[in-house]
């Protein structure tokens, strides 16, 4: 637990001192969403119809934009090597890193959703569902993205490859979350969706770190 907290604290300090890296994906999120009215037309009705899908896909892409933050620095300055040699539990290290990433990337996205929901004319119920669904899913996004980040950390330019590897894995949660938002918009019951999203989160928390840790060991194996 101590190792988890120390690593989390270290990571947060590092991120907070390079805030522009954290803010860029968030700006990307807002910019991408803003392009849709320009591409589709300003009609509120049309925009509110496409809003859940658009906002969700933008969130996925923004999360992927920030994936580089997770392991690249530690890999290049030798810290990752030190962690592996030290014999400390790599799984705990991974969980701490993912938590830090979620706090710096996923959580801010959730906070931005009401803002972008406004410009896409999302109604109250749908907006609520959007916030809840993104809150539940963003840790999963960080976890699954971490797999891609860890597999490509040894590559100089892994950014786009991470997206190709991870986006198919995002399909189930994308489908679930947007369905939940649409259900909320039509006043249907959303409890079932919440349980499914929680299940997805639990499954990711248990399984993804294994793949991430294995990939990190591969990265320093050179």
């Amino acid at each position: 637990m101590n190792f988890y907290l120390r690593t989390l604290k270290r990571d947060l300090s590092i991120h907070l001192r390079g805030l522009s890296e954290v803010i860029n994906p968030l700006v990307f999120f807002v910019v991408v969403i803003s392009l849709f009215p320009l591409g589709l037309g300003p009609s509120p009705q049309q925009l509110s119809e496409v809003a859940p899908g658009v906002i969700w896909v933008a969130a996925l892409l923004a999360t992927l934009m920030s994936m580089d933050l997770m392991f690249r620095d530690d890999f290049s300055d030798g810290s990752l090597e030190q962690v592996v040699v030290s014999g400390q539990p790599l799984l705990v290290f991974v969980l701490a890193k993912v938590t830090a990433h979620w706090l710096m990337s996923g959580l801010p996205l959730v906070l931005l959703v009401p803002v972008v929901g406004l410009v896409m004319f999302v109604d109250g119920d749908s907006l609520q569902a959007m916030v809840v669904s993104l809150l539940l899913v963003s840790p999963t996004l960080s976890l699954l993205g971490a797999i891609g980040a860890a597999l490509t950390v040894s590559l100089a330019r892994g950014g786009l490859l991470v997206s190709i590897l991870v986006l198919p894995l995002y399909v189930p949660v994308l489908v679930l979350a947007t369905a939940m938002v649409q259900a909320a918009g039509s006043e249907a019951e959303i409890a079932g969706y919440v349980y499914w999203l929680l299940a997805a989160l639990l499954a990711s928390v248990t399984l993804a770190p294994l793949a991430v840790a294995a990939s990190l060991r591969l990265a320093v194996d050179r």
Binding site: L151, G158, L165, L167, P168, S215
Partner: protein
């Protein structure tokens, strides 16, 4: 049994054994493919609903089936590689990925061709085609990762991890896409939801499926043999074999 398994895992042994299997496999697969296609095109009666365009099913469905089982095979080989460090298994993973991708692409294209006379459009986002598309992306990801990691010593293990991650997610993705489709179009025609097929229709289909499997293994064998020759090119037995060609 396990000893035979390990013996087979030696690239040299496998290469020698497969030299004998290969021509037989090739012959069998061509034979079954030709007869299957002939049966499908000439002897199967036209469907009461779709007319003659149903014949493309005999190309599309086996491709879709093989696309999926190809990924399972790749994941199986990946698991073997990670557990037993068998080099041949890593070569199998490398060989199946492009094969699987091509067959998935074939499934997509024939699915689209089948769609045109049926729905009037070249593409439809139904459950089957959509999950086949995602499967295609998974294959492409495998190919992309391997080529990005190039000749790094850890490329094999990294791709193996990705294959296992993919295979765990595959049923989840399929299920979620099917569910997604029922949400948006509850009462639509689906490519696979057909009333029970009479024997004169599913028998040629079965033949085509078998033919595709045979062809897949033939192609896989060829690719594997190439991969073996490439990776083991500095060993004596390869040098001798090449000299003897």
């Amino acid at each position: 049994m396990l000893k035979w398994f390990h013996r087979l895992g030696s690239p040299k042994t496998f290469f020698e054994l497969s030299s004998k299997w290969h021509p037989w496999l090739l012959g069998l697969s061509l034979l079954s493919l030709v007869s299957g296609v002939a049966w499908a095109l000439l002897f199967v009666p036209p469907d009461y609903q779709q007319g003659n365009s149903v014949r493309i099913m005999y190309i599309h469905v086996p491709a879709a089936i093989l696309a999926q089982s190809g990924y399972m095979m790749m994941a199986g080989a990946a698991a073997v590689f990670l557990i037993w460090r068998m080099k041949l298994a890593d070569m199998a993973v490398a060989a199946i990925a492009p094969l699987g991708a091509s067959i998935t692409f074939l499934a997509l294209v024939t699915g689209a061709i089948w769609g045109k006379p049926t729905w009037g459009t070249w593409w439809v986002w139904d459950a089957r085609l959509t999950s086949t598309l995602v499967l295609f992306f998974l294959y492409v990801g495998m190919i992309a990762l391997r080529s990005a990691l190039d000749r790094q010593a850890t490329a094999g293990r990294a791709c193996a991890i990705l294959a296992l991650v993919g295979v765990v997610n595959l049923p989840i993705i399929k299920y979620s896409v099917e569910w997604w489709f029922t949400l948006h179009q509850p009462a639509s025609f689906s490519l696979t939801e057909k009333p029970a097929m009479p024997a004169e229709m599913w028998m040629p289909l079965l033949l085509m499926v078998i033919a595709y499997y045979l062809f897949f293994f033939t192609a896989l064998l060829s690719r594997l043999r190439n991969e073996i020759l490439d990776r083991e090119r500095d060993t004596d037995w390869v040098r001798k074999w090449v000299a003897a060609q």
